[in-house]
């Protein structure tokens, strides 16, 4: 009984994770500029990673692969935002202006402030 429940939960998690991956990919194409695309990437980086790895860990039960999966997830969640930060920071330093909506509308993108 408990097995079936675990199975169902892990399938749901995996399906949600797959959906997250897809949505992130679509967002990466649809969103209009670099800084907004980062958000789509972070959707797949964090939520999809969490869901898919949790799903797989539930499937494999308490075993050594589970520990390896946990380590992979932990390192991904540690390095993912760091890489994103490094990239965003490189773009910022090189003078790419984020379009900042209403507060600094127009002129902000592409011009000198």
């Amino acid at each position: 009984m408990i097995d079936v429940v675990l199975d169902v939960i892990s399938w749901v998690l995996l399906a949600l994770g797959g959906a997250c991956v897809l949505i992130g990919g679509i967002g990466g194409l649809r969103l209009p500029n670099f800084y907004t695309r980062i958000h789509a990437a972070s959707l797949t980086d964090t939520m999809a990673t969490l869901l898919i790895f949790t799903g797989m860990m539930l499937q494999s039960g308490f075993s050594l692969p589970t520990m390896k999966l946990f380590a992979i997830m932990l390192f991904l969640l540690l390095t993912g935002p760091t890489a994103t930060y490094a990239l965003a920071n490189a773009a910022l330093l090189s003078g790419m202006k984020p379009d900042s909506g209403v507060e600094r509308d127009r002129g902000a993108s592409g011009g000198v402030q």
Binding site: W11, L14, A15, G17, G18, A19, V21, L22, G24, G25, I26, G28, L29, F34, R37, I38, A41, T44, D45, A48, T49, I52, F53, M56, Q59, S60, L64, P65, K68, L69, A71, I72, F75, L76, T79, G80, T82, A83, T84, A86, L87, N89, A90, A91, L93, S94, M96
Partner: protein
């Protein structure tokens, strides 16, 4: 189910590849590479399970640990360049 998830990941890899080819800025491409990297880790883990060979997870672990090095190298590359340009401007 694993097959469905891996198909979703493969499709996203294609989308990321399209983004890497379209650009338009260099950073978009680096972002696409980064997304591609995480997707590879996911794909490898999922396929290791699909195969029923979880001992192959070492590969995903390797990527999870060292993928960030490439992106940090990119950050340093751009910093170096902007520093050199500033130096050239000041001269």
């Amino acid at each position: 189910m694993y097959i469905l998830v891996s198909i979703a990941i493969l499709v996203t890899m294609v989308l990321a590849l399209v983004r890497a080819l379209l650009g338009p800025t260099v950073y978009d491409r680096v972002l696409a590479v980064n997304v591609f990297g995480t997707k590879t880790v996911l794909l490898l883990s999922v396929i290791a399970f699909l195969y029923g060979r979880p001992d192959f997870l070492d590969l995903a672990l390797a990527y999870a640990l060292i993928n960030v090095v490439g992106i940090l190298a990119v950050l340093e590359f751009f910093q170096d360049r902007s520093r050199k340009q500033q130096g050239a401007d000041n001269d």
